[in-house]
């Protein structure tokens, strides 16, 4: 098909010329056959027929008609918009709010949920683990991984990794603590990633006691090694041990579990966790994560069956007393599900919420359009009478509404850019790939689509109204105040009820999440977090091999910190409340029957080691007995304090003080292995605010020294102002030691509730927006209804109706609709809030308090929105009203 792109005017001129030439030739021939010029002229014209019509029909053949008409319609629509600027601004703002909210949330959902993970053939990647019911957690032993690796038939490749390693890099600028990941040599192959420089680990490098090699991340390579290509083969110091750099990861590489990795080192994992030394069997329990690539055609359920079968075989080889730990149920997830599974519900809820907001915006605008359509009935009728077909009229109205929606869409984009900035600032750190959310092409296309769809959706209402317009009646009524038909009024009311129902659901959702957030923040963590600085120090084991060195270092450091001006009390702890690394131990209480390790309920406790100043620094209360102090020195009897949960579980009816037990705490060499309880302290939250409190044993760092500690300082000044002073004290003792993980306890607590705060904030924001839109909508509908009935009001007032009567009548009408809307919303909420249950804390999805509050609040909003036009109606002057026509 040829498409001519000449300017329209040129082509029109040529068509006229062509037809004129035809007429000229016909005229000339008529003259040749003996007619007078005048007769010839008329004959030619007569034979040709209607020249204008012929031209028009010819132009249609060019195939431009629809385009031309659309331009006409758009021009007409724009003129219409400019004629009623107030109306237009409200419409565009409403649409901008709806479309903007959707654009922003879609860009997040698209980046986080919809995009494939940045690995080769990512949909065949799975994440596998074992769930150990007795421990209530996921645990994969080296034995099980070895079994999976060698015996499976479902995976093309399989790898283990652990992202919890940390290393101190020295010799490249100031000492720095880096986050490392231990990975098996197959790790990068499973993901389908190649180093941008150098090579992957070789199998020889991934054996126990193999050579120390490292692959750097692109960021570290650039920051610490100036992006030098000759970094390959260089030897760098990690924890004061020499590692050879063999590769650099690609720039866009992302490690798993949303945890950044500065470097990779080979796992050098033994095939068995069980090692015997000096006749004692030791079990190394290292948290393993497993990622694998399914063979083509293999399924998740097939993989699950096989891993469970392998588990059984492997468990048969474990020593009897360990089988209790190993009652493992394999779990296999798509890697994508594993990576985003925990944020998916919240994001889908948000997507649904903004969808609701858009529907409300649409209903609102549709209502405005209906009110205007009523005023335009006459125009529509005249157009119909002049020969415009129904579809032509529908197209005119839909083009108009789409043009409005597109303008709204552009305004929405601006709003979305702003909302995205807010999201990037306030979103919790646990949303993977969030950083890549932005207004890219996909999002722009989405916005365009949503805008057009919106235009059609709200444009339909006036179109349907126009279809019902009866030409005769409208033209006959002849007055400016023809009034909208009963159909239009019904449509407006239905839209209003729908809006109220939708906003009710949103309001309920927001209410539930806000209440959850309050429940969560109301939890007492068991310590006083205000004005506390925390920071970590890790001693390299190669240089601090003996426990005496470790003890002396931290003892000296804490003494020096205590002496700093601005420090009220200083302490150190092996694990910090809320998110410390969890050390668990079995517990054997003196005088009780020996532990049955094959049972699912082996007595265990969390173990910790602190310097005496720790309790004062966090203001952890003493319940009974005494705290650990200088008396519990290296050579004193082994003493511990336990928490209330420990007492509750192991001494429900006894006095715990003076009781003794053995546990996996390794005392100074040669000392007695029994620990006696000297005091009971208050419970502190160990695993997040919402987590259960485990029985806990706290020993003194003087008796059970460890090499990685978190410093805890209660300060009398702004906590972060002391960081450099603390850093100076650390490097005074060892200039190669970095201070890392600096954070105030307040910030840690706040990060703890970041997800809930974000969810509650986002939903409250959108629900607030929805309620605002609904209030405007109700007001609009009622005000319009009142204006349509000005005359009736006048008559009523003239006949003696009091202001109270009129007020009550109009309020009653509005509120009746509001009640219907709320009732529908209530029914919908009971169903829909169930989707929220995974996001709630301490609140049921059908929390009566929230439901009652929201019902009341929404009815109040509706009442106010109705009251204003109702009050206006009472002010109608009967004389003016009756003359209104």
């Amino acid at each position: 098909m040829k498409f001519t792109l000449w300017p329209r005017g040129q082509r029109n001129k040529e068509l006229t010329e062509e037809i004129q030439a035809h007429l000229t030739l016909a005229e000339r021939e008529a003259m040749e056959s003996g007619k007078t010029p005048r007769e010839a002229h008329h004959a030619a014209r007569k034979e040709f027929g209607n020249v204008g019509l012929a031209e028009e029909v010819t132009r249609d053949a060019w195939g431009w008609r629809w385009f031309e008409e659309m331009i006409q319609d758009v021009r007409y629509g724009v003129r219409n918009m400019l004629r009623t600027p107030g109306f237009t601004v409200v419409t565009i703002l409403t649409l901008a709010l709806g479309i903007g909210a959707n654009t922003a949330i879609f860009s997040v959902v698209d980046a986080v949920l919809f995009r494939a993970l940045p690995y080769h053939d990512a949909d065949r990647l799975v994440w596998a683990t074992n769930f150990v019911a007795g421990q209530g957690q996921n645990l994969v032993f080296a034995d099980e991984y070895a079994g999976w690796r060698t015996q499976n038939h479902v995976f093309e490749s399989i790898a283990a990794y652990s992202a919890s390693a940390e290393y101190t890099l020295t010799g490249a600028g100031t000492p720095e603590r880096l986050r490392g990941a231990q990975v098996t040599e197959s790790f990068l192959n499973v993901l389908g990633v190649r180093p941008q420089l150098g090579r992957n680990f070789s199998p020889e490098e991934d054996r126990p006691a193999g050579p120390k090699t490292v692959i750097l991340s692109d960021a570290i390579w650039r920051a610490n090694f100036g992006a030098a290509p000759n970094v390959i083969g260089q030897v760098i110091a990690l924890d004061d041990a020499p590692y050879t750099v063999i590769g650099v990861l690609p720039r866009d590489f992302e490690f798993l579990d949303n945890s950044p990795a500065d470097l990779l080192v080979p796992f050098q994992l033994a095939d068995s966790s069980i090692q015997s030394s000096n006749g004692r069997v030791m079990v190394m329990i290292q948290p393993l994560s497993v990622v694998a690539r399914l063979r083509p055609g293999a399924t998740l359920s097939g993989a699950l069956t096989e891993l469970n079968a392998i588990n059984k075989r492997v468990l048969g080889n474990l020593p009897v007393h360990l089988r209790g730990l190993g009652d493992a149920q394999a779990q296999v997830f798509l890697l994508h599900d594993h990576e985003i599974g925990n944020v998916r519900p919240a994001l889908l809820v948000l997507l649904g919420v903004v969808g609701f907001v858009l529907l409300i915006a649409c209903a609102n605008v549709a209502n405005l359009q209906l009110a205007r359509a009523a005023a335009r009935e006459k125009e529509v009728a005249i157009r119909g009478a002049l020969g415009a077909g129904r579809w032509r009229l529908a197209r005119l109205l839909l083009t108009e509404s789409s043009a409005v929606a597109l303008v709204g869409g552009v305004a929405g984009l601006l709003l979305a850019a702003w909302v995205l900035r807010l999201i990037h600032r306030f979103a919790p750190g646990n949303i993977p790939h969030l950083h890549s959310a932005g207004l890219d092409t996909r999002v722009l296309l989405f916005t365009l689509g949503v805008s057009l769809l919106t235009g059609i959706l709200f444009g339909l209402a006036p179109v349907l109204a126009a279809f019902r317009v009866s030409l005769n009646n409208t033209l006959k009524e002849g007055s400016a105040q023809s009034g909208s038909g009963a159909g239009t009024r019904r449509a407006q009311r239905a839209l209003m009820v729908a809006e109220i129902a939708l906003s009710f659901v949103l309001f309920i959702g927001a209410g539930l999440l806000v209440k959850s957030f309050h429940q969560l923040t109301a939890i007492q963590p068991g310590f006083d977090p205000h004005g506390v600085l925390t920071a970590r120090v890790a001693l390299p084991l190669d240089l601090y091999q003996s426990v005496d060195l470790q003890r002396n270092f931290f003892q000296q450091l804490v003494e020096r910190l205590q002496a700093l001006p601005g420090v009220a009390s200083a302490g150190a702890t092996a694990s910090i409340p809320l998110r410390g690394n969890v050390m668990m131990s079995t517990v054997q209480i003196e005088g009780q029957p020996p532990t049955d390790f094959s049972s699912a309920n082996v007595p265990t406790a969390r173990v910790n080691s602190v310097t005496p100043g720790y309790f004062a620094a966090l203001r952890i209360p003493l319940i009974e007995g005494r705290l650990l102090d200088a008396r519990d020195g290296a050579n004193a009897p082994n003493s511990v304090v336990v928490n209330q949960a420990f007492v509750h579980r192991y001494f429900p009816n006894d006095d715990p003080l003076g009781k003794r037990f053995t546990a996996g705490l390794v005392p100074r060499s040669g000392g007695p292995k029994l620990w006696s309880i000297v005091g009971v302290i208050g419970d502190t939250k160990q695993r997040g605010l919402a987590g259960d409190i485990m029985p806990e044993v706290t020993a003194s760092a003087l008796q059970w020294p460890l090499f990685t500690m978190t410093l805890v300082l209660r300060t009398s000044v702004e906590p972060l102002s002391l960081v450099s002073a603390v850093r100076k004290q650390v490097s005074h003792l060892d200039k190669n030691l970095p201070l890392f993980g600096v954070q105030t306890m307040d910030d840690m607590l706040s990060a703890e509730v970041a997800s809930q705060r974000f969810n509650a904030g986002a939903l409250a924001g959108f629900a607030g927006l929805a309620v605002l839109l609904v209030a405007v909508g109700i007001y609009g509908v009622m005000a319009y209804a009142v204006s349509q009935r000005t005359r009736e009001m006048g008559v009523r007032i003239a006949l003696g109706a009091g202001a109270g009567n009129v007020l009550r009548m109009i309020l009653g009408q509005g509120l009746r609709l509001a009640v219907i809307g709320v009732a529908l919303g209530l029914a919908a909420s009971f169903v829909l809030t169930r989707m929220l249950s995974g996001l709630l804390f301490g609140v049921k999805a059908t929390d009566p308090e929230t439901f009652i509050f929201v019902t009341g609040a929404l009815l109040a909003v509706a009442a106010v929105a109705c009251w204003i036009p109702a009050w206006r109606a009472t002010r109608v002057d009967p004389v003016i009203a009756l003359r209104y026509e």
Binding site: E17, R28, A54, T58, G63
Partner: protein, 122 residues
């Protein structure tokens, strides 16, 4: 609710298939302008077929858009410049298929109008 223009279009609808074929067929003998075409069709049909000029130009422009004919402005010695149409390669192909379609239709119509002949055939 049909506008005058729609009624007008309906009439061209009916003629369209045949008119297109006639135009293509006539152009086979050489390029012609619109007036020449209408005259040629009239003359060649023994003054029976009179081309409605209101249909002729839409048809010409439609055929041009489909690429079956091409147009060119030519100065004429007698006066106004003339838009002259000629058959293109794809137009020639189209003519062949139109012609065979036409023959099938006339044969079919003949069969209906002359049932005796049909019986003798079977």
């Amino acid at each position: 609710m049909t506008s005058p223009k729609e009624r007008y279009q309906n009439r061209t609808e009916i003629l369209q298939g045949t008119l297109d074929m006639l135009i293509l067929q006539t152009l086979q003998w050489g390029p012609r302008h619109g007036y020449g075409l209408s005259k040629a069709i009239r003359t060649n049909s023994g003054e029976i077929l009179k081309v409605d000029t209101g249909s002729l130009y839409p048809a010409l422009h439609r055929l041009e858009r489909k690429g079956w004919i091409a147009a060119e402005w030519k100065d004429s010695e007698v006066g106004p410049r003339l838009r002259v149409y000629r058959l293109t390669k794809s137009g020639r192909k189209q003519l062949v298929s139109e012609r065979s379609r036409w023959q099938r239709i006339t044969a079919a119509i003949a069969g209906i109008m002359n049932p005796a002949k049909k019986e003798s055939e079977s």
